[in-house]
């Protein structure tokens, strides 16, 4: 391809990536090393608020920001180095917990609590999504041709539903005396409260994510299955390979680049787990890194928000994703090299 044509195709996308990804990233990076404070003064203020019959007036000391001549709060931004990172990671408490080998104490620190859940969530859903997607794909591939359309449509439905809505529907099935909880109670003849402890909420979150994402894996694998070399399959049959052996030695190696692709996408998505925490209101028991950032960014009643800590937490999340992706990226890079096993990129 001529360089001009290449540039014309890639240019707009590069420009948008710069505006919407690189620039915000730089700004978040900058903010994570700076803190903006308002100057506060403490003054005596008389405030009258409604009582039932007559107003109640109290005179008290109120801390309020100093306003400048334009009526804006005076803000000053200072470089704090790794201060915000320290506030997120809480190294003193972390080290103390590690020294005592006190796992519970470590998990009461928000960041580690969030990291624990984010990692287990990501690593447990990954094989389930790939396995589930593969099973559906193989099954659909073996279904009679006339049924395939409807079966594909139904399998894709969970993927089409807006994530938060999907999470909420599953929540409503199980919360309180929801239909599913009532059914389980009737079936197992015992009282069940799915939202009373972290374990069961986590289970629901895992179930929801696999249910939601497996169709994506399925579609990718199903497309891949259509390109399996039929000659190889037939020779495998002649060699007496069982159904399982054909899957293990012919189909899966053929799908490997796709499996790596789905794994990459899923790792990136699952590490940013967020909708589940909101949908299942699991904050009391489990939180995720992305939720931690969101919580720091959300203003409280008095309008305070921790932008610096949120930035630090966002940067740490990004570092985490990069670390998770390195092995897969390395593999892809090796495959893509001229002369590498994947050659021209098998199906991507």
């Amino acid at each position: 391809m001529k360089f001009r044509t290449f540039a014309a195709f890639v240019g707009p996308s590069l420009f948008l990536m710069f505006v919407f990804i690189a620039a915000p990233l730089v700004s978040v990076f900058w903010q994570s090393f700076h803190v903006t404070k308002a100057r506060f003064e403490t003054v005596e203020v008389e405030t009258c608020t409604p009582g039932f019959l007559k107003p109640t007036c109290v005179t008290e000391m109120v801390t309020r920001p100093v306003l400048d001549e334009h009526g804006q709060p005076r803000l000053e931004t200072r470089f704090t180095g790794f201060g915000s990172y320290r506030n997120v990671l809480e190294p003193d408490r972390t080290l103390a917990a590690l020294r005592d080998l006190d796992w519970r104490a470590l998990l009461t620190i928000d960041f580690w609590k969030a990291l624990r859940f984010t990692l287990t969530f990501t690593l447990i859903t990954l094989p389930l999504v790939i396995g589930g997607g593969l099973v559906i794909a193989v099954v659909v591939n073996n279904v009679a041709r006339s049924l395939r359309g409807p079966v594909i449509f139904v399998s894709l439905l969970p993927f089409i539903i807006t994530p938060v809505i999907g999470a909420l529907s599953i929540r409503w099935l199980f919360i309180g005396d929801g239909i599913m909880t009532a059914f389980l109670e009737w079936w197992l003849e015992r009282d069940i409260a799915m939202f009373a402890q972290g374990g069961t909420i986590e289970l629901l979150m895992l179930f929801y994510r696999v249910w939601h994402v497996a169709p994506f894996a399925f579609v990718v694998f199903y497309a891949g299955l259509q390109t399996v070399n039929q000659d190889t399959l037939e020779s495998a049959i002649i060699d007496g390979a069982s159904r399982w052996e054909r899957l293990r030695y012919v189909v899966i190696p053929h799908l490997m680049p796709l499996i790596v692709f789905v794994a990459l996408i899923h790792l990136m998505d699952a590490y940013r787990v967020f909708e589940e925490v909101v949908g299942f209101s699991s904050q009391a028991h489990v939180i995720s890194l992305q939720w931690l950032t969101y919580d720091l960014l959300t203003p409280d009643d008095s309008g305070n928000r921790a932008i610096s800590r949120a930035s630090a937490s966002a940067m740490l999340t990004m570092v985490g994703i990069v670390i998770l992706l390195v092995p897969l990226l390395l593999r892809t890079w090796r495959d893509q090299r001229p002369g590498g096993p994947g050659g021209a990129g098998g199906g991507r």
């Binding site: 405030t47 409604p50 107003p55 709060p73 506030n87 904050q283 009391a284």
Partner: protein, 404 residues
């Protein structure tokens, strides 16, 4: 035929709205309002809409956008709905205007009790008060021969008796959802114990006997609640009441009307209101008083502010209250306090204090909301939980500049 019917219906509906309240003037200035979304605000904003050219946004999460929207030049909304807590950032940043002139011009009917005055200047006009207070199933208490509990020890005793009798699924309901709700429950309990949140220099002061006692009491209460209490908010508790699943709860006055709403409730006429319980007999009720009211943005033209205030006054006038008497405990002239308002009135009469809203309290409330669950789930003991909440508060307050 159909067309005729339609025409009649259309005309009838025109008359109906005209007859309901109407607006004393026709508003020609385009106005926007941002308020919370509960029933009282629905009533007020629809009354404002009758003046024309008013676009109302009702959003339960309004607090997350209100400070920024009012700080914009020009402000994105003219009229804002606030409560004690959410008034703070607007006051701090000076993004709402003093209303004394407008009150003098158009607010002759307002009672002095409605004017929120800060250092002598009227900064907001209140329309209603709200408080968490005891709601109880009168039939169940009567059946078991239990007096209406006035202290939390009596609440626990009543809950035990109700549990023994198996009268309902869970004796107590509680708005213990992690976050704002759970923190509010602690604030109520801690103030009921006579606690102070801050020491000099905005230093936190909750890690003490009163704090521990408050947490312990909350934990004892949860034993009688639905085990899923950490996800139950006001609406959830309201529904548990309506479905006859709980017998006692310390719930918001704005939810009282729903108990007798025959369309939703299976316990119409059975739920009665009383003062929020105190810790010791005759002590301060473990609750806080809230007000909701209206502010006008500063960064708009005087003409807009004039129109906005007039429209707002139409929203909180006598006709609106007469049509929506049960929606809230109104402060507006014409309100008929019924049995449903008795709980809030008794709570105030027994000496409950206003919610101590301030910049630092906002941070403290968030830290409490995130930190208390660890104690209730057993991950931490009370003293550790409180120490960690103080540490979290200090981190945020230093970052903000409130603590040096």
């Amino acid at each position: 035929m159909n067309l005729k019917k339609f025409a009649i219906a259309a005309v009838a509906s025109l008359f109906a709205t005209g007859a309901w309240a109407g607006c004393s003037f026709e508003n020609s200035v385009p106005l926007k309002s941002l308020t919370a979304g509960f029933a009282a605000w629905k009533a007020v904003t629809s009354a404002m809409a009758e003046c024309g050219n008013v676009e109302s946004e009702l959003d339960q999460e309004f607090r997350t956008k209100q400070p920024a929207a009012f700080a914009a030049q020009p402000a994105l909304y003219h009229i804002g709905g606030v409560s004690n807590g959410t008034h703070v950032p607007l006051l701090n940043e000076g993004t709402t205007r003093p209303l004394d002139d407008l009150v003098a011009k158009y607010g002759g009917h307002l009672s002095p009790n409605q004017l929120i005055r800060v250092d002598g200047r009227t900064m907001a006009v209140a329309m209603m008060v709200n408080a968490q207070h005891l709601m109880y199933r009168e039939d169940i208490l009567n059946d078991l021969g239990i007096a209406v509990p006035a202290t939390y020890e009596e609440v626990l005793a009543a809950a035990e008796a109700i549990k023994q009798a198996g009268a309902v699924d869970y004796p107590l309901g509680g708005t213990y959802k992690t976050g704002w709700n759970l923190a509010e429950e602690f604030v109520n309990m801690y103030l009921g114990h006579g606690g102070e949140f801050f020491a000099a220099g905005n230093q936190p002061a909750i890690d003490n006997e009163k704090g521990v006692a408050s947490l312990e009491m909350m934990k004892r209460l949860t034993a009688y609640m639905d085990p899923e209490y950490l996800v139950s908010d006001s609406t959830y508790v309201q529904q548990q009441f309506q479905q006859g699943k709980v017998a006692l709860a310390n719930l918001w006055a704005t939810r009282a009307g729903a108990m007798d709403d025959a369309a939703e409730s299976q316990v119409v006429g059975k739920v009665k209101m009383a003062s929020a319980p105190s810790i010791e007999a005759g002590g301060r009720p473990a609750s806080t008083l809230w007000w909701d009211g209206i502010v006008i943005a500063k960064n708009i033209t005087d003409e807009e502010a004039d129109a906005a205030f007039r429209v707002a006054m139409e929203g909180i006038d006598r006709e609106m209250v007469e049509a929506n008497n049960a929606a809230a405990v109104w402060l507006i002239d014409g309100f008929q306090p019924g049995a449903m308002a008795a709980g809030a009135a008794a709570t105030a009469a027994n000496g409950a204090v206003p919610y101590p809203a301030s910049s630092q309290m906002g941070i403290m409330h968030s830290a409490l909301g995130n930190g208390i669950a660890d104690f209730l789930t057993g991950a931490k003991d009370a003293a550790t939980a409180l120490a960690d909440i103080e540490a979290e508060y200090l981190t945020a307050a230093k970052e903000k500049g409130l603590v040096q």
